[in-house]
């Protein structure tokens, strides 16, 4: 395994006053390279993950007013996600995110790529959801990444609590 110690670590913060998740992470890449990795469907499918799941892009128009849809598959299970590209700028993306299993729920995601110079970029991402409950369930469920695996771990944690 690659050691994580020599990688930039992601910072996640659940805002106490608004149903927002803040994410900050540095990369050894330029803002334009990061924009490409986020807007090119073939590149995006390769990293959005999770591990062991295969992502298939079904619909992709990464332009202002465009839309996206993809499914993540593993062992015959399928999880679909879709949303709109509200705005795609030179170094920022504003988009919506919906899990097909919860079609009424929508997150508003803002991604900003801050040029740190010397080929480094800091990603500032935030996801605004409808309610605190929805935000915290989202954090807890890890719905972006293997639900069954997540619930197994959650069960163990709850058992640990008792």
């Amino acid at each position: 395994m690659t050691s994580t110690s020599n990688r930039y670590q992601v910072s996640i913060e659940a805002d106490p006053t608004l149903p927002i998740i803040h994410i900050v992470r540095d990369f050894d890449a330029t803002p334009s390279e990061l924009m490409l990795a986020h807007t090119d469907p073939a590149l995006f499918a390769r990293w959005v993950g999770p591990d062991k799941m295969e992502t298939e892009i079904l619909d992709w128009d990464a332009t202002t007013g465009g839309r996206w849809r993809y499914v993540a598959r593993r062992d015959g299970m399928e999880f679909g996600f879709h949303g709109c590209f509200h705005e795609v700028g030179d170094a920022h993306i504003v988009q919506t995110f919906t899990f097909d299993g919860q079609p009424d729920g929508v997150a508003l995601e803002t991604l900003r790529f801050e040029d740190l110079g010397n080929g480094r970029t800091r990603l500032h991402a935030q996801s605004l959801v409808d309610t605190f409950e929805g935000r915290d369930q989202w954090l807890a469920s890890g719905m972006e990444t293997g639900l069954d695996e997540g619930y197994g771990k959650l069960d163990a944690l709850v058992a640990e609590l008792r």
Binding site: M1, T4, I12, D28, E33, A140, G142, L157
Partner: protein, 138 residues
């Protein structure tokens, strides 16, 4: 059941007044009356909030003492911290995959050498994307 416990914790934390009360209890135990002080609400209303928090396992109330001070159950907060940590770990894994894709876009062989050893997903057919060459050339 685990799901019930989860739902109660989330429902309890969804209310800003209850989150305030938990923040107050993090400083130290307090009675219902003391908790009601900063808010423009009745002791009865605070009692209702405390009941929701207690049902979720976030707060306990001593049965014996006359003042019945409320006590924060820190274990549940450790659990919340672990949930966020799990989410953080998943995000970290995602961004490390992005690191690898960015390294390949730049044709950074030093970074990509190990990828074939520990990242089988990089052997996907998407490698021949025309955008990838465009990215590597820029």
């Amino acid at each position: 059941m685990a799901d019930d416990q989860l739902s109660r914790v989330f429902a309890a934390l969804a209310d800003p007044t209850r989150r305030d009360m938990l923040a107050r209890l993090a400083v130290g135990d307090a009675t219902v009356g003391e908790l009601a002080n900063p808010y423009d609400v009745s002791v009865q209303a605070v009692s209702k909030h405390i009941k929701v928090l207690a049902d979720a396992g976030l707060v306990s109330q001593s049965k014996d003492a006359q003042r019945r001070p409320c006590h924060l159950e820190a274990d549940v907060f450790d659990l919340m911290t672990k949930w966020i940590e799990r989410y953080r770990q998943q995000a970290q894994e995602r961004f490390e995959r992005l690191d690898d894709v960015l390294a390949i876009m730049r044709g950074d062989t030093q970074h990509t050498d190990h990828l074939h050893l520990d990242s089988p997903h990089l052997d996907s057919p998407h490698l021949d994307s025309p955008h990838l060459e465009q990215g590597a050339a820029s």
